[in-house]
Amino acid sequence: MLDLSLLPDGGASWLDASGEHADIVISTRIRLARNLEGYAFTPRARDGERLRILTQVREAFASLRSIEDGVLVRVDELPPEDRLLLHERHLVSKELAGLNDQPVRTGAAVYLSRGVGIMVNEEDHLRLQALHSGFHVSDAFGVIERLDAELGNKVPYAFHNEFGYLTACPTNVGTGLRASVLIHLPGLVLTKEIGKVLAGLQQVGLTYRGMYGEGSEVVGNFFQISNQTTLGRSEGELLDYLVRVVRHVIEREEEARRVLLRDAGYIIEDKLWRAFGTLRYARSLSFEEAMNYLSGVRLAVGLKLISGLSVYTLNKLLIFSQLAHLGHTEGRALTESEANVARARYVRETLAAEAE
């Protein structure tokens, strides 16, 4: 079984709730898509090509100064439950983990260090990503920018004079930059403003997804907001723009929360305490239920209705109450109903420990 404690930070420092607006913005992720010269892009490359890519970048990783204590994980050699574990912890994409309709690719790997990861043989040869707690766009980008400059000096990237950094999918070409924030918007959902806000995002060149990126459902009022275009604007412009719009969304969310408390105070309070009660005492919880109640409790903590519960604990509950994480704790793969019982127990015990 994969031992995540071998990673410099357990791969979980992004949950520590240290960033700005941490109760609303869970995390900030920056990723750059890069490809090496001289090979077909990953989806078209043969197994041998992908393995050569891995060998080439592996050597480069070892000499990187901007990443310390990195650990290379051969995702293609892991059993499915460990691949799911990495995905649940937001360290690898669904595609790299072979959890889409395609099986895991030979040569799929990830190089991990504190808050930084490099996926190898994802849709692009390299996906450099930084994952930070809270709303920390420029810090996260700074880390990735340095890493990119250093790595680009060790391996030759595919770059085109007109089109910029070349990627397998033309929706990523140019800067190869995708900046996204994972944001919790229960106030806008409850006041039914969310539809307008989301439609507005699309009009200004941003997009939204569920918690697990492309194709994932929105659960627990968690949204991932990111830039949609990658070409024709500089990295700085793309980031500034995202920051400005997300700040505006945060203001709208805060306003919605004030309206809820003002106009429906006791109903909201009742609803949120019930969510808390369920999490404290339930004996079986499906993932979706847990997410929805956790959303309620998170809102209650943000509104200061419930005290003595840290945002860090809430973040941890989101991630560690997922199927592969529960199985990892129990030391074996769980069926869905076993997982529901294990989830309720884990949530109960975590909340009880925090209350002491």
Partner: protein, 161 residues
């Protein structure tokens, strides 16, 4: 729980209505909620369908004068239309004008104005040594108008051959 209005569908949302000083709680199914103009998380928040593949299908005829396939990876435009993924970096040259149009539609622009990349010199690269890789890099250097780099690579290549 059954919907308070139609008494038929399963209630998926709890609607709090505020009328004057009174507050009323309604449990609604998705259909009744929609009829009252309420967007549930289910209806409002479905991630938008990626219509990129559709864009490719509808708006990307092969431009005249483009090769049938990429000389490096042998991918064709039909492959691209089917998967939405290009085969390799050279496809961007092979299908340049078709892609330029597509990029304008997708990004509103086809010219990269962000950071520019300068490939490291071959002598600084630990791993590049074989003539095949050098030839490949020479071609790319010429294509991206990095002529100094191209001259360096050519000299290296002569040394090997």
């Amino acid at each position: 729980m059954v919907c308070d209005l139609c008494k038929d569908g399963e209630a998926v949302i709890q609607l709090t209505e505020i009328e004057g000083s009174g507050v009323r709680l309604l449990h609604l199914c998705e259909k009744c909620a929609a009829e009252r103009g309420v967007e549930t998380t289910l209806t409002a928040a479905k991630p938008q369908i990626n219509n990129f593949l559709q864009t490719i299908h509808e708006q990307m005829p092969a431009a005249k004068g483009e090769p049938a396939q990429c000389s490096f990876c042998q991918a064709t435009l039909a492959d691209f239309r089917a998967t939405g993924r290009l085969g390799c970096a050279h496809c961007y040259d092979a299908f340049e004008s078709s892609l330029r149009d597509l990029l304008r539609r997708v990004h509103g622009n086809s010219r990269h104005i962000g950071r520019r990349y300068v490939a490291p010199l071959p002598s600084e690269l630990p791993h590049v040594s074989s003539a095949t890789e050098l030839r490949d890099r020479l071609k790319r250097a010429i294509e991206t108008e990095q002529f100094e780099l191209a001259a360096d690579i050519r000299d290296k290549l002569r040394g090997i051959e």
